[in-house]
């Protein structure tokens, strides 16, 4: 579907982003998290508990205050973990950089590239 010229230009932008400090730092932080069994376990526990609480709530069940408090304690523990905190902070910087680049793309287009591209994914 893409012309060769368009494919080359998209590839070039992607490679420039990949080689940028901001993306490299995020990819390293992501790899560090994935390689650490402790962070993987913490996040898996948080996801499992969240999904379980949500499912029960959607069935109309009233959750105990202590269950919500326990979940919030685990959530704080997850986001205060140094590796996860580093990954999340570097992801925020990636989002800022990508949003700035998307703004430049939008200047040429006169429309919102990211919104239209995401609409095409459904």
């Amino acid at each position: 579907m893409l012309t060769e010229e368009l494919h080359t230009a998209a590839l070039m932008l992607g490679e420039i982003l990949h080689n940028s400090d901001v993306v490299q730092k995020y990819l390293k932080a992501l790899a560090d998290c994935e390689a650490d069994p402790e962070t993987a376990d913490l996040e898996k526990r948080m996801r499992t508990i969240y999904e379980e609480l949500l499912a029960r709530q959607q069935r109309g069940e009233n959750l105990q205050r202590s269950e919500i408090d326990d979940f919030n304690t685990l959530k704080r523990q997850v986001y205060q973990h140094p590796r996860i905190a580093e990954r999340e902070a570097s992801l925020i910087r990636v989002k800022q950089a990508f949003a700035d680049i998307a703004d430049d793309l939008n200047i040429s287009l006169g429309t919102d590239f990211a919104a239209l591209a995401q609409a095409g994914s459904v």
Binding site: M12, G14, I16, D104, L105, S108, F113, A114, A117, G120
Partner: protein, 138 residues
């Protein structure tokens, strides 16, 4: 004469590219996309829809019913039913059908472009490029 590269300039791939290089690549990509006949057809269809009196009339009515639903005014089922009928009427207008077709082509094209960017970047581009709108920089 300006020393700035034109928007059609495609910079070389640098191992440690600075922000300016990424900006130039984004502008170049945007220029290529905006020159495509499919994109021009999309913009024309969008203009057509925006200038169509019947589209405007129906859109205003749909907004009125949506506002009533949002604020819980009147019979909610009636508002819902009216919204569905008006929306169907809107979608059946020839100019809107042309727009929807053009929009589908463009969203698929942009999605394909985004996939190439994201795969090369190693991080999803469009999904992370949307501003949250909360003013918190996220």
């Amino acid at each position: 004469m300006s020393t700035q590269p034109s928007v059609s300039y495609i910079p070389p791939i640098l191992p440690a590219a600075g922000d300016q290089t990424a900006v130039q690549a984004a502008l170049a990509l945007g220029k290529l996309l905006s020159d495509m006949p499919e994109y021009q057809a999309f913009l024309n269809a969008l203009r057509e829809v925006n200038n169509n009196a019947e589209v405007q009339r129906l859109s205003v009515k749909i907004r009125e019913h949506n506002n009533a639903l949002q604020w819980g005014k009147g019979d909610l089922l009636e508002h819902q039913s009216a919204t569905e009928i008006l929306q169907a009427e809107l979608e059946s207008l020839p100019s809107l059908r042309v727009y929807r077709q053009a929009e589908e082509v463009i969203t698929h094209l942009f999605h394909a472009v985004d996939e190439v960017i994201s795969q090369a970047a190693g991080v999803p581009f469009a999904a992370n490029a949307k501003r949250s709108g909360c003013g918190c920089g996220g």
